[in-house]
Symmetry: C2
DNA sequence: GACAAACACGAGTCGTCGCTCGCATTCTGA
DNA sequence: TCAGAATGCGAGCGACGACTCGTGTTTGTC
């Protein structure tokens, strides 16, 4: 593979070019989703987009750049559409609802953009692509940490990071099941994923709530401290 | 097209050949683990084993066959070493300990055989390899179902299957985190994985316990014993 | 020892894939 | 209008990887 070190200045794109880029990225998303990144051939992407291989390389220096650009646009889309879902949780809303809302939003995004899962999950990422992959992953982890830290004020930072990693891993695992199923089955898996996350986090957060309620109880009525996890009648 | 039943009769292997096969499988495990199945080249496997490419093809018809044989031996090893871990749980042992024991055993196996995770988890599996992959996966799912069904007697089969899939997915997700870390961090992730599985399953199994207690309570008041769907003889 | 079968070698074949190059066509701006 | 830039094409190059083949070596058996 000949290395191109040339820092070429941004070419002035025509409207047609922008359209082609969007078309190529859409085709790439389709091919990546169905065959994975490594197994996807640039010729197949060009064919899917209805252009010649040469045209593809008019807009992307190499195969990696396609995936990177796709990843960046995907992240931008996610931030634009669901950024507020990752804002700190209002402490007034119950954890169960907060988890359910976050899961619903992300599941929705991933169902509409299945490439996202492929790019995040695929271990078949060579070289510089892995960096982008990690950057994407770390961005999400940091978001989850920010989301969790107000709920876990008395835990060391390392523990919060670990919990965030576990949450991400659980979410990705659940997402895989969700994407692999359809209809009612899919709904059922979504519910299971919510249950998993809620039941995992509730005892951790529960400490804080119980502490808060205990302090409140010293000044007010003692008795409503038993907010246990079994408030969820799953059919 | 007439199906060529040309099954070549098993070649008479010498001791040297068996040794080479073991050597090659070990090398393949190493290469698969570090680069993944798709990116692993047969020449690299042969080099790792210290033999020529031609020698490799003396014992395996193609690259796929290496992975398949490896998968089969791995499953056999697992069955031999940990088969009893997948035997039905003694209902007397608390769920938390049962989960912890199962997780410990499997984590141990996977830490000593990291290829297993690569072969199970890799989406880069072409053609007939995917069948073997699925077979392996389904075997494990069935085992988990057998493990869970006595704990979930009043759930429909579909729900038990779904719960088994969720457990497998959670375990695989946790395993990825565990294998990616070391030392204390690894121990911490193992504990998190146990917590996740226990907290997920406890409320489900808890229903059964509560039902059992309810049945025991109604036994004092005769006549209403038919309310419980599955009268579970307490073992 | 003789013969065949199993084992071992490694240069070479063949197909695929990322990517290029020369040339044609379309658009933009002055 | 027309020069030059952007876009578009597709045969083909170079590299790499799965797999083969002709040949030589070791092992088991009579």
């Amino acid at each position: 593979m000949p290395t191109h070190q040339e820092q070429e200045q941004p070419r002035r794109r025509q409207a047609r070019g922008e359209r082609r880029i969007a078309q190529l990225l859409e085709a790439a998303a389709s091919v990546f989703t169905s065959t994975g990144y490594a197994a996807a051939s640039t010729n197949a992407i060009a064919r899917e987009a209805g252009v010649s291989p040469g045209t593809l390389y008019q807009f992307f220096p190499n195969k990696e750049a396609i995936a990177i650009e796709l990843g960046q646009r995907l992240m931008a889309d996610m931030r634009a559409a669901y950024g507020q879902a990752l804002a700190p949780i209002d402490p007034a809303t119950p954890l169960e609802q907060a988890v359910a809302a976050a899961v619903d939003r992300f599941i929705d995004f991933n169902c509409h953009n299945p490439v996202f899962f492929t790019l995040m999950h695929g271990p078949d990422v060579p070289g510089r692509m892995a960096e982008e992959h990690d950057a994407l992953h770390n961005t999400l982890i940091t978001r989850v940490e920010d989301l969790l830290s107000p709920l876990l004020p008395d835990r060391p930072a390392a523990a919060v990071t670990r919990i965030a990693h576990v949450c991400m891993a659980l979410y990705m695992a659940g997402l895989e099941l969700v994407l692999a199923s359809e209809g009612d089955e899919r709904e059922a898996y979504v519910q299971e994923l919510k249950d998993v996350l809620f039941r995992y986090l509730d005892p951790l957060v529960g400490d804080r709530l119980r502490d808060a309620q205990a302090t409140a109880a010293t000044t007010a009525t003692p008795g409503a401290a038993a907010s246990t996890a079994a408030s969820n009648p799953t059919p």
